[in-house]
Symmetry: C2
Subunit: 346 residues, 2 copies
């Protein structure tokens, strides 16, 4: 990785954008130049990166002249307009929003699962999958490779940071209101732009993103459709229920799977041991299992509570936890770029 | 219900016991006399019931002389020793602990599901099921009666009050520590008597009760075994993952079921509308779905987020919420006694 790139970060001040900057530095990403782009509202603000100050510039089509790699996480509307403009000017776009994910000409990539999809990028745009999907497919892929996979039933326990900086602040404020015996005010969750808002402190909310017409939320449909696309398995059965819990960062998932072949718990352990990006945390004698407070700011996807279904030798339970802002967003984006550099695709 | 009963409450100062007292008053349970029993440690303390003061007496075998109905919620060890003594003296025992639940000679009852089981009480003891099981079987029974039920996969979001008064206090203390930027201390959850303790504030813990040898927790095995016993369906496939969340009271459950026959969402709605003890809260246009903060101190079991599996016309998702201290414990116990009075069994 000696080649150095001209990088643009769009949406650097958001929850994901700031983690993206951290990871670029930490992982010594080979940067020739970097610029930070945002809406006109944020333009002119100062931002620090690796000890130097930068002025945030307004994102315009011309901003991407000479850029090799553009990292987008400023919302679907911004990506819709500017990602094609960046690509047109020769940049490879890695987009964190959902806008292009289901476009058949846009690869949707978790490097541990479908790195090969990076070889064909017809639009110059690569989509980073939904946070709750990434950690699940990363954990299921090593099992699927050995035993096949026919069905996934997932219930999520998702952190508020997945809904942005305002939701993190809302949990903090509501907790303080609760502690002080005051009325709890809800303005952000479950979805800022939806009609009703409910408290998240001391509560769980079974709605993430808005509802689609079929009764599932967009978040649930993302998990269903993106899992099939990343795994290139349209016939895979995926069912999801997505729930917000009062956790700051770190999504947890209770996942029930059915395999093509019978397996043992030991064989599932073996499949996950040394799997890329996976850390097995499963020792019931020591009460060892993944939990979000211990996954925050950590890169791996943690897997534990592995059990065989008592009624079905092809059925297994897993408990999967990862930092939704890292593997679920910023880290996976950077890993896509690193994989492309290694494979001489960038 | 004109007959009046001599009642003993064992464990009145606990989280469930105090709710039991509330419900006895609220529901105008026909009481001739009442006494409050506890360990020697609590004996002598004063307790208020319906505007009158009572002295807590030490629970001994002789305490149950002349008692018609004994309500136990003072832990399995107390029930093990004293429930048979109460029954021997002619009392009907309704036991909230897990001690007798799987005894084939002890009926395990949710009145909406298997009220008929109250007709045969060989040991004079009736067991009140596990909190997370009660609300699930109450919601599934009306569906099962119409369409049959072959499989249940449940992931729970359980409130801290299920672990008692000390766990409620621990959540409060940890939240205050968190808000003040202090270190969070864990001494109670997941299981007071287990080796390790983890914070519950801003976390979720995938352990409720201790682990059994097969990798499932006792809580998970209770949901599996008790569901089959209450529904009298040993062939029913039940798979459970039980998780503690930072909610005070109100257990939530993400339940995936497979039916014997195909059904539509409207048919599931129809089966649950007017079902005893069930309130349907399902209108996605109005963002109406059950949530624990709105279920606290309420008697019904709330059901919403009903969706047909996109890959299986016999598969459905439900989101079930109820107050774990009420329908999950105290209320169900009192309802068992009320059903027996109505059926002239007490």
């Amino acid at each position: 990785m000696t080649k150095k790139l001209n990088v643009a970060v769009v949406g650097a001040t958001g929850a994901v954008g700031s983690k993206m900057m951290e990871k670029l530095i930490e992982r010594k990403f080979p940067i020739a130049s970097i610029k930070f782009l945002a809406s006109a509202r944020s333009a002119g603000k100062q931002i620090e990166f690796n000890g130097e100050n930068y002025t945030i510039e307004e994102a315009k089509p011309e901003s991407f002249e000479g850029i090799d790699l553009a990292l987008f996480s400023a919302g679907g509307a911004v990506s819709e307009v500017l990602a094609p403009e960046a690509a047109k000017r020769g940049a490879i776009v890695i987009d964190n929003t959902s806008h292009f994910r289901m476009d058949p000409e846009v690869p949707l990539v978790v490097p541990e699962v479908n790195r090969h999809a990076l070889k064909t990028i017809p639009k110059g745009i690569i989509a980073n999958p939904n946070c709750s999907t990434i950690q699940m497919v990363a954990a299921l892929q090593p099992i699927r490779e050995k035993f096949g996979l026919t069905k996934v039933v997932v219930s999520t326990y998702q952190a508020v940071s997945g809904s942005g900086v305002a939701a993190i602040e809302e949990l903090r404020e509501q907790s303080a209101q609760w502690d002080a015996g005051k009325n709890v005010e809800a303005k952000v969750l479950p979805v800022k732009s939806d009609k009703k808002h409910y408290p998240i402190a001391r509560n769980v909310i079974p709605q993430i993103d808005k509802f689609t017409d079929n009764g599932f939320t967009y978040e649930e449909m993302k998990m269903i459709n993106e899992t099939k696309k990343i795994m290139e398995a349209p016939e895979l059965k995926v069912a999801a229920t997505c729930v917000r819990v009062p956790v700051v960062s770190g999504h947890s998932e209770s996942v029930y799977i059915e395999l093509e072949q019978e397996a043992t718990v030991q064989q599932i352990f073996d499949a996950l041991t040394d799997a890329p990006g996976i850390v097995l945390q499963d020792d019931i004698r020591e009460q060892l299992y993944p939990m979000p407070i211990f996954a925050e700011n950590e890169e791996p996807t943690y897997v534990g509570r592995i059990r065989q279904d008592l009624d079905n030798k092809k059925g297994f339970h897993l408990w999967i936890v990862s930092d939704n802002l890292l593997k679920g967003a910023a880290l996976n984006s950077i890993q896509i770029a690193e994989a492309m550099l290694e494979d001489h695709l960038l």
